[in-house]
Each structure stands twice: as structure tokens, then as C-alpha cells.
């Protein structure tokens, strides 16, 4: 037996949740589907390939104060930002849920990033299995299934006009609307099949092609626009700066990218990674070599966003296949 919820009841449940807490869900905006704060369930989009932007912004905001400086009677007090409101994050795809788990690895490693940890702890993830693959999707090559229930609290899988409901965690179980859920004999549909990118052995191949001219040749057309890092569900590099506004001081953490010129430039001017080729290489090495060496998993989830949005068609699927060939050549 499986538990199911009808589409109509799913929307009623979401309406109920909107009344109780913050609900972030896919909605249309300027021709794109984006995760947005929902104010009514009818705005929530249930049928989409994936959102244009990854969900990471809800947990690692584009720009957020780490603390503000409180100056009273000459005494300084640092007031840390805290996350108090409970949030339901609805409609996260399995690839993006893995993306959050990947970002967790460095950010929650001791000592944990307290602010990120609060964003994560205060949020319940409701996943939506993919019933069709987008043209750039290759999650299965990264070891993720389109209906993978790992890394979410509740998983929904569409069957006809209903959704199979699986509570994955205790947190998910606590949120389920028992009054709206029915028992059913329905079976989940087969997951869609996807293009395959040969990722097997890539981590082992990477060290051998570091010096290849390939990287600077590939980077030659890069405009360092940073869209790849901006849309990526696993990029988490950040910058920390202070701002003063009319005497009030805040320390702010904002997204940054290893593709930015000056990312590694030291005070005084020395920059150990001053060329575009070295920076683009860093992006691929961080995802395909350093991250897996540190944390055991490739730092890419195959969502295909960087492929779709790169204005000069730098395509990680092609890069992986090129590296495999380069590696095979250097072995001969």
C-alpha cells in the first residue's frame, strides 16, 4: 500500500501551510519558474522541468548579514543574525536536494556555519520526483535518480492526477496532513531515462590532466560572467565584507565565484591564479577532484543549469568527456 494525496488536496495542504509558516515554492516570474515565497497555493507551479535558479539562495542567501554591531554608550555588542521562522521548501528536485547535501558537507563541518545551520534546521524540504527530464539533465550520471528520495523530508511522486507521498524523515512525518492522505494500490511510474555522461573514473583522471593546455584553450571564450556559479546548486564560495550606513555597521556574507578576476588577489597585488585558464580549471577541479577527495562525492548534481545558461556554451558534459579522452591519451 502507498499513501497518496490528490492534486486538489495537495494545494489545500499548501494553502494551510502558507497560513502557518513561510512556504517557498516554484512560481512563474518573467517567463521563468523560480522558487519564491508563496502567498497563495494557486500560484504554485506543479508541472515544470526545474527552476531556473537553484534552491541554495534560501539557505545561503545572495547576501546576508552575519551580525550587526550595536554601539550603546560607547560599548560594542555584536548581534548575530538568527533564523527564527519555520519554512517549508516545496518542490525541490532530487538533484537540487543532493546539491544541498553537498553544500552541507563543508558548511556544517565542525565548527558549523551557525547561520547556514539555522536556515537548514528551520526548513522542511518537500521533494518532487521528476516525471520527465529536461534537455540538459544528467543527474543519473552523478549517481542521483530522478525519483531519489534521499536528502528531503517528504517525497512526492506524481501519478496521474495524484501524488504518492513518502515521509522520509521524522520532521517530514510530523508535517504530513493525515486528513488529506489516502491509501492506494497505485504504483509509482518508471523514472524517466536520461542522457549519460561517463563520470566513472573521472576523479582519478583529473590529477593527470592538470597541466593540459586544454584548460586555457577552453577558457579563452569565457566572459567570466559567473552565471555558472550563480545558477549552480553546489557552488558555495562566499565573500565577507563590512558596511557602514549612518553609523550602523553590519558584516555581510555574499556569494562569490572562483571565476571572478581578483578572487585570489592578495592585498599588495600578488595573484596566484591570475589567468582565466587557471580560474576555469579551478571550477572544474573543485567539483571533479578536490570536493570528491574531501567529501567523497562529485561536486556536481547534473542539473544542467550551467550548460543551459552559459553564454559561450562551456558545457560540463563535454568537459567531462574531453577529460576522459585526455586521460586515456596520457595513459598510452
Amino acid at each position: 500500500m502507498t499513501q497518496i494525496i490528490s492534486r486538489k488536496d495537495l494545494l489545500s495542504w499548501l494553502e494551510r501551510l502558507i497560513g502557518e509558516r513561510i512556504v517557498i515554492a516554484p512560481a512563474r516570474s518573467n517567463g521563468m519558474v523560480l522558487f519564491q515565497r508563496a502567498s497563495r497555493a494557486e500560484d504554485i507551479v506543479l508541472d515544470f522541468d526545474n527552476t531556473a535558479l537553484s534552491p541554495k539562495e534560501s539557505f545561503l542567501p545572495l547576501s546576508e548579514a552575519l551580525f550587526t554591531v550595536d554601539k550603546e554608550n560607547g560599548n560594542i555588542k555584536l548581534m548575530p543574525t538568527t533564523v527564527d521562522e519555520e519554512t517549508v521548501f516545496f518542490g525541490i528536485r532530487p538533484c537540487d536536494a543532493r546539491g544541498m547535501a553537498l553544500i552541507d558537507a563543508p558548511l556544517l563541518a565542525a565548527p558549523a556555519d551557525a547561520l547556514y545551520q539555522q536556515h537548514r534546521a528551520r526548513t522542511t524540504l518537500i521533494g518532487l520526483a521528476c516525471s520527465q527530464a529536461g534537455p540538459e539533465c544528467f543527474c543519473t550520471s552523478m549517481g542521483i535518480a530522478p525519483d531519489d528520495p534521499s536528502n528531503v523530508d517528504i517525497m512526492l511522486t506524481k501519478v496521474d492526477d495524484s501524488y504518492i507521498v513518502q515521509a522520509i524523515t521524522e520532521k517530514g512525518k510530523a508535517l504530513l496532513p493525515s486528513d488529506l492522505i489516502a491509501e492506494s494500490e497505485v504504483m509509482p511510474p518508471p523514472a524517466p531515462s536520461l542522457q549519460a555522461v561517463l563520470t566513472e573514473g573521472i576523479v582519478e583522471v583529473m590529477p593527470g590532466v592538470f597541466e593540459a593546455p586544454y584548460w586555457s584553450r577552453l577558457a579563452d571564450r569565457c566572459l567570466h560572467c559567473n552565471i555558472c556559479a550563480y545558477v549552480c546548486p553546489t557552488c558555495y564560495c562566499f565573500d565577507i565584507r563590512d558596511y557602514i550606513d549612518e553609523g550602523s555597521i553590519e558584516r555581510v556574507r555574499s556569494w562569490e565565484s572562483c571565476q571572478s578576476p581578483g578572487f585570489t588577489r592578495l592585498a599588495g597585488g600578488y595573484d596566484p591564479r591570475s589567468t582565466k585558464g587557471a580560474r576555469l580549471r579551478q571550477r572544474f577541479y573543485h567539483k571533479l577532484s578536490y570536493f570528491p577527495e574531501h567529501f567523497g562525492l562529485i561536486g556536481c548534481v547534473g542539473c544542467g543549469r550551467c550548460v543551459r545558461y552559459c553564454p559561450v556554451n562551456i558545457d560540463i558534459r563535454e568537459v567531462i568527456s574531453d577529460i576522459q579522452k585526455l586521460g586515456a591519451q596520457s595513459e598510452c
Partner: protein, 277 residues
């Protein structure tokens, strides 16, 4: 480190400032909370991140040794936004301190060895606590040779301590500048050339070097000519850092995070980095 929220600095007070060179100040800082002050132990080679609230924070090596006292000492060269702000502060000003971060020189492991310290410019900063540690534990180490270079005599960072270092038993201090002035009677030579001239023996020796990249590059060549192996050469690396916690990925070089895996590395370890810098 503030384990509850590692981005929140400890509050501290700037106790005193002194000019070390025309562009470098010696800052003495005391953590405000006495419990934190007692807990804040660190070893030569480790660093802390100093905040000038409103202008930002930046990493600096701790130039003091923690067993001598609870005050933290920094040598800050005016070179960017945060260092400029720190130079402008008056004693009594509030600053923030995060840390201590990073690894440290394996001074336990170097016991019994002759130590050669080779520093250029502000690169002497992380070497000062090593020198003072060795002088405070003199019997544990062999001969100490300090080669300290700078662009001009005025740029030699720890001049007030030179007499102590030179006169300590079993220690020798060799100063050199790129360009002398009217009062300078010492060497006018580049640091790597002084290494070549003095020919320190590689036998039972550890060479610890820090300075501008070009100085390090040629110093390594000279040391290798003298027979130093990669495991006998130790340096401390500078890299853009933001968080100090291995999270922001700014200082990621190869599979290492300089803020966590470093900043101290043997040349043997560095030669395994894929990326050169």
C-alpha cells in the same frame, strides 16, 4: 575559536601601537573576556583574523608566543583597506579577533636540529614567534642562524629585537638590505645570495623561510644546492582568506585549504600541490 558561531569575533581592545617600519605597525591587543583570554592558546605559525568594525577583517599571523603573556601581538603592514583602518586606530579602540586558526611549525619535531630562519620584509612576522620560542627553549635546539633581509634598513621589521637575537647563545643574526643608506654599514645583497654566501650546512638542519614569492623561489634553489631536502625546508604560505574555517573556499589550492591545512607546509608537501604559486 567561538565554536557556537565561528563568524562572531571575540571583542578585544587595542592596548598599544608602535611603528616598526614606515609602513608596518606593531599592535598589542587584549581580548576583553578574561575566560576567552585564558583559553586563547596558540602556537608559532598560527594566525588570527582581526576586525576593524565597519571596514572588514583580514588574517594576520600571531607574532607573540602564547606562554609569555595573554596579550596578542601582530605586525601589520599598511597595504589594503583593513590594514589601513587598523593603522588609524588609537589605543583603547575596540577590534575583533577570530581564531586561532591554521596549523603551526612542528617545533617539537625540530628539537635537536640546527635551525636556519630566512625571512624577507614582512615575511619575518610569522618567523618572530619561532625565533623567540627557540630562544626560550635554547637547550632543545642546535645552532640558530637568522638571515633577515628587507628593501632598505628602515624596512627591517623587528629591529628593536636584533640585539637580543644576535647576542643569544648559539645564535647568529645576518642582516641584509637591497639598498643601504648613509648609516648602513652592513650587507647590500639579496637574501638568496646571502644564503649562498653563508652556506649553512644541511646536516641535521631545518630551514624555515617566509618572504615575497620571488625571494622564496630563489632561496629554495640555493637551499637545494646546499643539499637541503624538501622535508628539511619549511615555509608558511599567504593566500587570500575570508572565513579561516575551510568553508568560503577562497584559499583553496589544489585539495588543500591554506587556512586549515596550512599555512605551514614543508616543501615536500608543497611539491605535491598541483597548482603553483
Amino acid at each position: 575559536m567561538n565554536a557556537e558561531n565561528p563568524f562572531i569575533p571575540y571583542l578585544a581592545t587595542l592596548l598599544s601601537t608602535a611603528d616598526l617600519t614606515p609602513d608596518t605597525k606593531f599592535l598589542t591587543v587584549e581580548l576583553d573576556d578574561p575566560d576567552v583570554r585564558d583559553r586563547f592558546d596558540y602556537k608559532p605559525g598560527q594566525f588570527a583574523i582581526l576586525s576593524a568594525f565597519g571596514l572588514g577583517e583580514a588574517p594576520f599571523c600571531l607574532v607573540s608566543v602564547s606562554y609569555r603573556g595573554r596579550q596578542l601581538e601582530f605586525a601589520v603592514r599598511r597595504i589594503g583597506t583593513v590594514t589601513n583602518a587598523l593603522h588609524e586606530l588609537e589605543p583603547g579602540a575596540k577590534v575583533g579577533v577570530r581564531g586561532p586558526f591554521g596549523n603551526y611549525f612542528s617545533l617539537e619535531q625540530y628539537k635537536g636540529s640546527n635551525i636556519i630562519i630566512i625571512g624577507g620584509g614582512i615575511g619575518m612576522a610569522p618567523l618572530r614567534p619561532v625565533i623567540n620560542f627557540i630562544l626560550d627553549h635554547r637547550a632543545d635546539y642546535g645552532d640558530l642562524l637568522i638571515i633577515n633581509g628587507a628593501r632598505t634598513p628602515q624596512d627591517l621589521v623587528f629591529a628593536p629585537e636584533f640585539a637580543t637575537w644576535a647576542q643569544a647563545p648559539g645564535s647568529r643574526l645576518e642582516l641584509t638590505v637591497d639598498r643601504g643608506d648613509a648609516d648602513w654599514t652592513g650587507r647590500e645583497a639579496l637574501v638568496p645570495d646571502v644564503v649562498k654566501e653563508l652556506k649553512p650546512s644541511a646536516e641535521n638542519a631545518i630551514a624555515i623561510t617566509c618572504g615575497p614569492p620571488i625571494m622564496i623561489r630563489f632561496t629554495l634553489i640555493r637551499l637545494k644546492e646546499l643539499g637541503f631536502t624538501d622535508s628539511q625546508i619549511v615555509t608558511t604560505l599567504e593566500m587570500k582568506m575570508k572565513c579561516g574555517l575551510g568553508k568560503c573556499a577562497r584559499c583553496n589550492v589544489g585539495d588543500k585549504y591554506i587556512c586549515q591545512d596550512g599555512p605551514v607546509f614543508t616543501l615536500e608537501q608543497i611539491s605535491k600541490f598541483m597548482e603553483q604559486f
